[in-house]
Symmetry: D2
C-alpha cells in the first residue's frame, strides 16, 4: 500500500532516510538452510557505493551491511525467518542541507514529497535519496545467490550509453562483471568507456550532469518462469527498473527498435537444439520472454536514466511559499549515476527473478509431487 | 501470486480464456455510491473490439459487458461490494485451432505456457489471447469514471508511430479522444494517419505485420499521488503497460531521449502560477512525475508494441516433440495492434491512477481529519 | 483491502449479492494439471444448500455450480489460470424484501452496511447473505481435493452442540462424513442428534432460533505447515472460521478448557512411533498445532455460531430515520444454521490448509532442490 | 506469504530472534504528520516486559525501543515513510540453551520449526519466543495513538480468568488501565486478583504453570468499520489474537455463551439515542460487530491462553534422533503469561482497528469527496 515492499514470495521491505538512524531492509521469504552470502553482498555493496573514483561522488559511505536477524548464529545459514540488514549513517553532514528545507530543487522530489506528505526529511534527500537503494542491493545480492545456487543464473549489467556515446552490441553470452568493472564507467569496451568518461568529465567541469542507458543480460533462467497476465516477467522487470531513482525508460528484447520491424523479421523461430535436446529459438528478439514467461533464452533489458538533477549551476525555482529564489547546489554529487546504477539494475533483476523462481515451483501438480 | 490481480485498493482480478465460458473481471474496492458508468464502459469496449474496420481483425466480438454483482438494482449505484463483469464467448470457431495444439507458433506464448503449466488452452490463444484485455478495459473505464468524478482527470492515448512512420509532437494539452478517433488508425494527424494506414495495408498484403508506439497523456492529476520507493507512479505505470500483450518498451516524460540531455537541459524549473497560485513547472521533461510522485503537470508516457506474431507467411518451428514443422497461420488476425491498444493503454493508466488516488487519501493525518 | 479475497497462494475472491446476477468465486493459484473435482464440489454444494429437510429453510436453491474458466476443455484438467465458478440466482422473490429497505433488522448487518457504505442491496440480505458462502464451499471443495491428492488429507466437521444439547467426545480418528450425514442435524450420535432436533423444532414452533457449535477434525496434515508469527495455522484458521456468518467464537485443541489445566496436564509429550518411525505426541491437547505450525497430529477446532437473527416474533427496532418501528419477519429462514455450517467450516479449513500446503513447499532450500 | 507482516494499510513487519542482533518492527503506512508517541510506546513496552514482579519472569529486559527511521529529526513527527523500531538483545545468556538444541521440549515449537525449516535458532526459543511481541507492542502503541487522535478510541484489556478463578462481569464502560494495573496480575477486582495470585503462586511452587483468559473492551469505534466477507472485524481480530503465543481460543461478544441463547434473547434491539440522536442498541450481545462491521457499541472480546509450556518438572520427550530423553527445564520463565498478555492483546486490537479505520476512509464516494 505504501510502496516500501517488493515481491510476493521473496519479499523485501526497505526503510530509512538518507541521514536518519540507518537504512536497511527486511527480507521475508528467504528459504531456510542457505549459507548466507556475506561476500557477494559486500561485493555488490562496494560497487554501489559512492566515492569509487572521480566519476562518482566523493562521499565516503562505508556501507558495511550488518545482519540483525534471520541467521543461525553457529553456521550462518538462513533460518527461514526475516533477515534484517542495515547500514548505519556515519557520514551525515546535515548542516549542508539546512538551507534546502525551504526551497524546491528542480526535478528533485522535494516538492512532490511536500505535496504528498506535508513534510519531508530534508537532509540528504531523506527517503528520496538514492541511498535508499542500499537495502535493495543487499537483498538483491542474496536473491542472486539463491538464483545461482538453484539454477546457475548469472546476471550482468553494464553501461551501454552515456549521453550521445553509445556502446555497439557486445557479446552478452560471455560478458562478465570483471569485464564490466575493467573501467570505472562500467562499460566493457575500453575505447567506448574512455569516450563516456570524457563526456562525464566535460559535464562535471561545466557543473552539469549526463544521463545514459544501462543494459542487463540474465543467463540461465529456465523456460517457465513468469505469470501470464499482470505479473508478466516483462511487467515485473519494468516495475523493478522504473522504481530506481532517475529511471525514465525500460525496454525488453529489442524494445522500441522492435516497433520498426515487420513480424516476419521480429519473430524468433523455434528449433530443437541437437546437443541438449532442448527447444530453443534461433534469434532472440523477444529477449527471453514470450507471453510474460521465460523461454529459456537470455533475458535482455535496458533502462534509461535521466541526467542527475543536482547540477552546479544557478537555477531558478521557488520556495515553499511560492516565492522565486535562485538555487545553487553545494556538496558532493555524482555527475552521472550510470556506473553506480549497474549493481542496482542487477539487484532489481535478481529480486524479480528470485521471486518468480519460487513462484514457479507452485505452478503444476507434477511439480508439487516431486 | 499468480498474477491475475492488479492494484491494491482499487483491485481488479481478470479471468477467462479466449474460447472458454467467458472473459471477465472482478473489481474489488470500488467506493460505494457511484453511478455505474455503463455508457463509458460500452464506449471503451467498442474501441477495444476487433472488427472495427479493415485495419483490424474481421472477427465480430459483441463484447457486450454484463454486470453480475456490485450494483444496487434500483439505482445502478455501486454498492462497495465486488463488481463482476463478464463478456460471453459467442464467436468461438475452435476447430480453427485444432491443428495448433501440437506446435509452437513463433513468438507466441504456446511454448512458454507449456513450459510453465504442462498444458494450455489452445483455442484462440487461451489465457494468452489479447481478448483477456476485455476485463481490463471494462474495469479501466470504471476507474477513469471515478478519476473524472473526483478530480476531473482526463486520459487520452493515441498512436504515435507505426513502423517507421512517426507522428511529430501534438498538442497534448488539448487532445481529445474524438480527435484520436477521427482516423481508424487512431492517429490524430490526418496525413500521418494516412501514411500509417498505408504501412499497415502494405504489410497486410504481404501477410506481414507491423509494430508501433502508443503515447498517452493524463491531465488533471493533482500533485501528491504516487509512492516514493517501489510503487512510484513511474514504476506502477511501467508495470501496467508492460503487462499488455506485445508491449516491449515503456517511457515516461522524455524517456530514452532524456539520456541524451544534460541536467541543465532536462531539469524542470518551478514557478508560481500567477493565476492559480499553484506551483508549476515551466517545462515538463519529467512527464508529471518526480521522485515517483505526481507534480501536478500532465503525465506523459509511451509504450512500444512489437509487430503482431501471427503472420501469414510460412514459418519454421517445432512441435511439442521438438520435431521441425512448417506453420502457416490461418484465420483472422490484426496486422497491427496499435489502434486497439489505445483504449488498453488508457485502461491501464486509469487503473494505476485510480488506485493511487485512493491511496493518497491516507497519506497524512491532516487529510484523514478532513 | 476490501476483504473479498482470502489466501495468498491458493487465493479465492468471492462476489455477488443474494438476489443479483449470480454468486461466485474466482480461484487464482490452483496448480495446473489437476482433474477438476466436479463431483466433490457438487456434493459439498448439496450439503450447503438450504431446503435439505425440515430443519433448514424451505428455499429451493439449485446451487448448480457452473465453471466459466480455468479448465482445459478437452480434459477438464486445471490450466493454472483463474477458475471462475458461479451459481445463478434463480429463486429470487425480491418483493418479499421491499418493506425491509427502510428498517434495520436487529442483529443483522442492515445498519452496519448502511453505516459503512451509505446504501445496501436489500433483497435477501445482499452481500451479507449466507448465500455468499456458495463461492467458499465450491472453492473449498477444490482445495480439499488438492489436499487429498497430494497428502491424503481428510477434513470432517460435525455439529457438536445445539443450544444446551452437547455431544460428548466422539472418535475423531475415524469419523466420516457419512456418519455425520446420518442425521439431518449432522451430529454423528443418533440419540444426541434426536435431542438436538427436538431443540430446533421447539424453537421453530415458537418462531425462535438456536445456536450451537461445530467441531472439525483434519487428519493427514504432515508436520511443518504453517508460519511462525502472524500467519500461524491457529491464526489463519481462526480468521477463516470467524469470517463465516454468525460465528462468535473459535477454539483450537482444548481451547478455553485449556485455560483451566496446569502446564503439566496440558503439555503433549513427544515419543517416537515404533511402527512409522515418526515423532508423535501421546496426547493432543495442542490440536495438532504448536507455535503456529502443524506437528503431524490431527488438527482439532471448534466454532461457535450464535442463534440466527431472523426470528418470527415481533421485534422493536428503528428505521433509517431513527423512528421506532415493529419488525415482523416473513419468508423462509433456518431456525438453526448449524447443519449447513458443517460444509462451510470444512471449506474454510480446506482453504487455509491448501494455501499453507503450497507455501510450505517454499520453506527450505532442500525442498526447492527436490 | 511468510507471515511476518500484518495489516493492509497500516502494515507491520516484525523481525528478530530472541537472542540475535535485535528484535524489531517496520511500520509502513503510518500517515504523515503525527507526533510520534514515545511515551505511550514506552508505557506499553514496560507493561509487556518480563521482570515486573514475582508473578512474571525474573529476566531483566530493558526493552528500550530505538526508532531508526520514519521521523522528522527536528520535530519527531511521522514522515509517512517506514518507521523502523528495534530493541537490542542485551541480556542473552545463550549458554543456558546449548543443551536444548538436540531435544524437543513438549508443547514448544522446537519440533515444528525443525519440521518446517530443517533448522532453528535454539537460544531463547529464537523466532518462536514471546519476545517477538516487542515489535507488535511498539507498533500497537503507535496504532492506538492514531486511533485516539482521530476518533478518541480507548482500548483496555484485563485478566478475566486464571485457571479456575474467574472474574465476574466488570463495568467495561468505565474500566481504565490504571484500574487494571492496580494489581500485578492485571485483574481489576482486588479480591479476585488476590485469588488469581494465589493460584499462580501455588503453581510456581510446584514447578507448574497456569493458563487463563484476557478480556478486552474497545470504546469509541464508530459504526462502519470492517469489511463484510473475509475481513470481518470478527475475523481480523480473531486472527490477530490467535497469532499471539499460547493463545487457544477467541470470542467476540457473548462468544460460546451465545450458542446457548435463543435468537429472541441474543438479538440486540435498535433504538435512537435521545441525547445524541444516534442509532444504538439496548443490549450488546453482538460485541459491537454485526455482519463483520462495527455498529458503534463497545467491541468486546476474549482470548484464551493455555498454561505456559515450560514447567519445572521432569518431562519425557525425544531428541532430534527420536531417542527418548528426560527434559528438565532451567532458567527464568513465567508461570503465567496472562499479566503480560494484556498489553499484547491491546496491541493486536489496535493494529486491527487502525488498519480498518484507514480502510473505512475509502469506502464511499461521499467520504472521498469530503
Amino acid at each position: 500500500m505504501s510502496g516500501n515492499t517488493f515481491g510476493h514470495v521473496f519479499r523485501v521491505t526497505t526503510f530509512g532516510e538518507s541521514h536518519g538512524g540507518g537504512l536497511g531492509v527486511v527480507v521475508d521469504g528467504c528459504p531456510a538452510g542457505h549459507p548466507f552470502p556475506h561476500a557477494r553482498i559486500a561485493a555488490q555493496m562496494a560497487r554501489r557505493r559512492p566515492g569509487q573514483g572521480k566519476l562518482t561522488s566523493a562521499r565516503q559511505e562505508a556501507d558495511a551491511v550488518q545482519v540483525y536477524s534471520g541467521l543461525e548464529p553457529e553456521t550462518g545459514r538462513t533460518l527461514g525467518t526475516p533477515i534484517m540488514m542495515m547500514v548505519g549513517n556515519s557520514d551525515a553532514r546535515s548542516h549542508h542541507y539546512d538551507d534546502l528545507a525551504a526551497l524546491y530543487r528542480p526535478s528533485h522530489a522535494d516538492y512532490t514529497y511536500d505535496a504528498r506528505y506535508g513534510l519531508r526529511a530534508v537532509a540528504g534527500g531523506g527517503r528520496a535519496s538514492a541511498r535508499e537503494t542500499v537495502g535493495r542491493v543487499a537483498a538483491g545480492a542474496l536473491a542472486e545467490d539463491l538464483l545461482a545456487a538453484l539454477h546457475g543464473v548469472e546476471i550482468v549489467a553494464y553501461v551501454a550509453a552515456v549521453g550521445d556515446v553509445e556502446l555497439p552490441a557486445v557479446d552478452e553470452a560471455t560478458l562478465t562483471r570483471a569485464q564490466v568493472d575493467a573501467s570505472a564507467v562500467r562499460c566493457p569496451e575500453e575505447h567506448v568507456a574512455e569516450a563516456m568518461t570524457a563526456v562525464i568529465e566535460a559535464a562535471r567541469k561545466q557543473g552539469d550532469t549526463v544521463g545514459g542507458v544501462v543494459r542487463c543480460v540474465v543467463r540461465g533462467v529456465p523456460a517457465g518462469w513468469g505469470a501470464p497476465v499482470f505479473d508478466k516477467l516483462t511487467a515485473d522487470l519494468a516495475k523493478a527498473m522504473m522504481s530506481l531513482p532517475a529511471s525514465r525508460g525500460f525496454e525488453v528484447g529489442d524494445g522500441f527498435a522492435a516497433t520498426k520491424l515487420r513480424g516476419s523479421q521480429h519473430n524468433d523461430p523455434f528449433v530443437k537444439d541437437a546437443e541438449s535436446g532442448q527447444i530453443r529459438t534461433t534469434t532472440n528478439h523477444s529477449g527471453g520472454i514470450q507471453g510474460g514467461i521465460s523461454n529459456g533464452e537470455a533475458i535482455r533489458l535496458a533502462v534509461a536514466f535521466k541526467p542527475v538533477a543536482t547540477i552546479f549551476q544557478p537555477q531558478q525555482t521557488v520556495n515553499r511559499a511560492g516565492e522565486a529564489v535562485t538555487f545553487q547546489a553545494r556538496g558532493r554529487h555524482d555527475p552521472c549515476v550510470l556506473p553506480r546504477a549497474v549493481p542496482m539494475v542487477e539487484a532489481m533483476a535478481a529480486l524479480v527473478l528470485c521471486d518468480h523462481m519460487l513462484r514457479a515451483r507452485l505452478a503444476t501438480m507434477d511439480g508439487l509431487r516431486r
